[in-house]
Symmetry: C2
Subunit: 440 residues, 2 copies
């Protein structure tokens, strides 16, 4: 277990980026604007472009050969496409390089020149969206969320649609507006029905008054299947590169008016924020547990063996912090990735059931992950019952939905202090809507 | 008018690719597998990579300079990104090069070497998806289709949702499964409720029994806007690169079960076929007319001046041919792109209203375009009333939906013989479903 090893770089016990993690991202610096791969370790990053150019992979010539120039790229797609068994090897090799008792002290630990080139302070790097994302699909696997929202709009007895327990419901999202943590989000304009009772319904054109976050886990795909050839559920785990936190910003008032009959569109494509460091699938292998039970006898193509079901979802603790423009702050929700009813393998298989081809770099969202209790909701819509109650921040500021200047921060972490496998955070601040004159 | 000019290359009067057209595509040949840009003219193509390398653009040094290496690329994105005024210039230049009375006979017409290099037979080239498509969005602007389908499932009085005349309804589609004409489509497996009356609804896992085509026009985007900054409707036409025919294959039985509450997903991502040659926006400028009238007083950001409304949609005649495995064939539908209720500019603006960023290469579908009368339906769902009546092919074969071995061909053309501006066709054949064992 790497939890037993320490790094020659200082890693605080509370760091999400322990030696047990080794998450991959894309960085640039003020001194070098080139986008390049890196891994995070404690308060540092290892620049993988500099490391590989400085012969850092010469400890394993097989790895060096297979890597080729994948760490000279501006995204992680080439590396991801090399496959899960290889990611595992590279991660283990980097853990070895960074361990106090490394077998290869001459390659980096005692190589002052390369350390100066390749070790950067985390605080000094700029993160970028780490993959070239072909398509983005958002699932709806958080059953408590689906139930809460359904109950709000259709009542508790019709909360879940009849298909919900038979298949992982999902819709195609917008890849272009996926942004990295730290990017501000503009309050959107849109068509909103302000009086939901009056008939006929007449929409107003207004900045959204129900801007919300969604607490999700996101997954990057590392392989591809041919169009027309579904991925069996037994093979689906091989398509998982790794995970990030996802905040799928949503304009609830826009969504309510636009979404029939084809689903959410402009209510969702205004932006989706992700945490910058991809935690590899293998880094989370030991943090798995049972998901929400599904008693429906669903189709066999989605069925997984009992021993797999026991470890069908990740056990990552999630929290949402809300910070107002005046600096008040509160943790407004605590949830867990365990509150999913479908496994990632089931979602991958269902995605391809009619023949859809996945490609390396595709991004899948879990859907909003709410827990079963008060204070575990993954959206303000649920927590305020569509604005009927307040969320308090710092004791004296009340929110029904997000206000201009609010910052939402999602954090996620697994494991124990000293060996945490965490995501860091995804943060985004709400900027005021553009002036109406923009449209004319 | 280019309709007055002829080309020194033979162009049959019935050719969709007259000198008045000059559509752009991406080709390869058995002799040269490199993907490269080309334009179609009659039964020929002009290889633009060979033409530019052979100094073909030396007649206009300004064009040559701005072009740079955009015709050395494997897709048309770089060329598209140069903007509509420039596309117009390049198209006019190529018309000049190809005209019988060309000002530049020495560049190609009388340049035997370059002609041998750059002029290929259309029958000898393989076409490819011409753009690197970032995101695909499918609209629902064909009002007759929306009405027909709504009436089928909700009755005539509730056929159109209340939002339909206020905004261009759309959903995000799947970019990875967009394929070029000629690619076969596998009959998909999926979850289907075979007995729609029984409660509770229990889905069966089966090859789709309601596989359908959708007759659409597709549009490629040639510019980008910044996230958070909507495109005003007055500027939206600048984002249109050109058009192709689109067949958005749909598994109706899968769709009926999966689509609540987030819209179509696996029923649509099994494949979408496009015609290979992009007809530039400017080639169709003179084929514009009024769309379907919308008497709703919709939001001002979608409002266009009266003179623009008079020319808000294209006037392209569409037809659908169905050919069975045994060779029987019939034109089963004739429609027109005029049967749209929203203009492309309105769709672009609405797409970005909440701040979504479009990128060069993005692809937008019109939605199914049905006419008002029998025989003008853009899908079998409408024409057979969800399988309740037959479509006859060649007099003695009956169809409710597509059968294995069926080929669907969509054609579209504007203008008059000798100066046609057409799309050629998008064709696709249905292959049998993969064996069930694929899933296990």
């Amino acid at each position: 277990m790497y939890s037993q090893r320490s790094s020659w770089l200082y890693v605080a016990p509370s760091s999400h980026f322990s030696l047990a993690n080794i998450p991959f991202g894309i960085i640039s610096t003020s001194a070098n604007a080139t986008l390049r791969p890196a891994v995070a370790i404690g308060e540092y990053v290892l620049d993988l472009k500099a490391f590989s150019q400085g012969n850092g992979f010469s400890g394993d010539l097989n790895i060096r050969e297979i890597l080729g120039d994948s760490f000279q790229q501006c995204n992680l797609n080439a590396f991801a496409a090399l496959g899960r068994p290889f990611h595992r090897k590279v991660r283990a090799y980097l853990q070895e390089i960074l361990a106090t008792d490394t077998k290869y002290p001459q390659l980096l630990k005692n190589n002052t020149n390369l350390r100066e080139m390749a070790i950067l302070r985390l605080a000094d790097v700029t993160n970028h969206v780490p993959m070239a994302i072909g398509d983005y699909t958002d699932f709806y696997a958080g059953k408590h969320h689906a139930y809460n929202v359904g109950a709000l709009f259709r009542g508790p007895s019709n909360a879940l649609q009849p298909n919900y327990t038979h298949l992982p419901v999902a819709y195609h999202g917008r890849a272009s507006s996926i942004v990295v943590s730290g990017t501000s989000i503009r309050r959107p304009w849109g068509q909103v029905v302000l009086d939901p009772v009056a008939e006929p319904k007449i929409p107003s054109f207004t900045p959204s008054q129900k801007l919300d976050f969604e607490l999700e886990l996101g997954m990057f795909v590392c392989s591809s299947n041919q169009l027309g050839h579904p991925i069996p559920v037994s093979k689906a785990d091989d398509y998982i590169f790794g995970y990030v936190l996802l905040n799928d910003w949503s304009a609830r008032d826009v969504q309510a008016w636009e979404y029939v009959p084809l689903g959410p569109f402009t209510a969702k494509n205004l932006g989706s924020s992700i945490s910058p460091w991809i935690v590899l699938a293998d880094a989370l292998e030991e943090y798995k547990t049972r998901g929400i039970e599904n008693r429906t006898s669903y189709a066999q193509y989605l069925e997984q063996p009992v021993e797999v079901k026991e470890k069908s979802v990740l056990r990552v603790d999630l929290e949402v912090e809300l910070i107002s423009a005046s600096g008040n702050k509160s943790i407004i929700s605590r949830s867990s990735t365990r509150y999913m009813m479908w496994s990632w393998a089931q979602m991958i298989t269902h995605h391809t059931v009619t023949g859809c081809n996945l490609r390396t770099g595709d991004f899948l969202g879990s859907g909003t992950i709410s827990g079963p209790n008060e204070g575990t909701e993954g959206s303000m819509l649920e927590q305020t019952q569509d604005g009927k109650s307040n969320i308090m921040i710092g004791g004296d500021e009340a929110r029904q939905f997000l206000e201009d200047g609010d910052t939402v921060i999602i954090r996620g972490v697994a494991g124990k202090d000293g060996a945490l496998v965490g995501f860091g955070e995804v943060a985004g601040m709400i900027k005021p809507a553009v002036p109406k004159s923009t449209f004319y």
